[in-house]
Symmetry: C2
Subunit: 196 residues, 2 copies
């Protein structure tokens, strides 16, 4: 967000994608710049030709990752409950809990955005609003879409902190059940904007 008319270089993209995986795994504050860039096969000297500093990298990671999440939900049909449940069940799976590096950016990094510079929060807010626009369309209700996101993100984050698979499963199963109940109650209470 620092270089408005910039043509995103191939190296910069590679840097963002590789460092995103590492940051989702080890945390952003917990990963040094050297480790972050060498995950993409570069050294720190190259990094600072693409980014003003570490802060700008977090902005780019968040933006790119939320856009990727948005893209995945974009393929669903609007208000197709079956499709939506399939996607949410995948989100609320043990596989997702076990592989943060390949998963959604929100459970591992949202709390770090809360401590980041205001510039990063602005990027986060914009990218999240675009994700929520898509999710709201698929769910059919904006408030319900936010609540589904909160539920899913909270469940995966908490499950990752637990020691045993039994406990992880308990949290995930509760979330899946809650998601089903939310969608079912939405089904009974049809569209807020009557199109008749």
């Amino acid at each position: 967000m620092r270089h408005p008319p910039e043509q995103k270089s191939r190296s910069r993209e590679k840097l963002v994608r590789a460092s995103a995986s590492l940051a989702k795994q080890q945390g952003f504050a917990g990963s040094g710049v050297d480790a972050l860039v060498s995950a993409a096969g570069f050294t720190s000297g190259a990094f600072y030709r693409h980014f003003e500093g570490k802060d700008e990298l977090l902005s780019s990671i968040v933006e790119t990752e939320l856009e990727a999440t948005r893209a995945r939900f974009s393929t669903l049909e609007p208000r197709n409950e079956e499709q939506l449940l399939l996607a949410l069940d995948a989100y609320l799976s043990l596989a997702h809990v076990r592989h943060p590096e390949a998963g959604c950016v929100l459970p591992p990094l949202a709390s770090e955005v809360g401590r980041a510079p205001h510039e990063t929060k602005k990027v986060f807010e914009r990218a999240l609003s675009e994700l929520m626009a898509v999710l709201s369309e698929k769910v059919g209700d904006s408030s319900a879409a936010f609540a589904l996101l909160n539920q899913c993100v909270g469940a995966v984050m908490i499950a990752r902190g637990l020691a045993t698979d039994n406990a992880k499963h308990e949290v995930l199963a509760a979330a899946r059940q809650s998601v089903r109940a939310s969608l079912a109650s939405l089904r009974m209470r049809p569209p807020p904007q009557g199109t008749f």
Copy 2:
């Protein structure tokens, strides 16, 4: 959890409580040991007489903080929907979002537990299960209690990453609405274990 029969010293307690506030504000990985202990008025030399290392401090913070959260919910009457809603609305408030240092440990630090040693996760799992035992009693349904926790934790964490109050409010309002819907559907579907 390293010193099983230990009598927790006054200094150790002070160290844990003060460093918990700082860690909730700045992150645990983002806070140096010096900053953590000087928040309690000590220097790092004293710290290592009480803890084996930084990892053990995180375990203690998580344990102490989850116990504090448990204590706050313990005062509620079981299945008193009005009381419960009051507590959840306070959790889902802008004040809570704005003051992580005084708030629940889960939104700011749960993701760090996910990257912590297994020992820390065991402490987390035990302390969380005690919290959930209390919360389940107040809610009247264990699975619903987990879902309420997921919802609240996710909402506060995401709200903290947003730039504007409008956006924060949107996330919190959606969570409060979802919480109300969950409790209402629980009200209609009475106790699973029929006491007749």
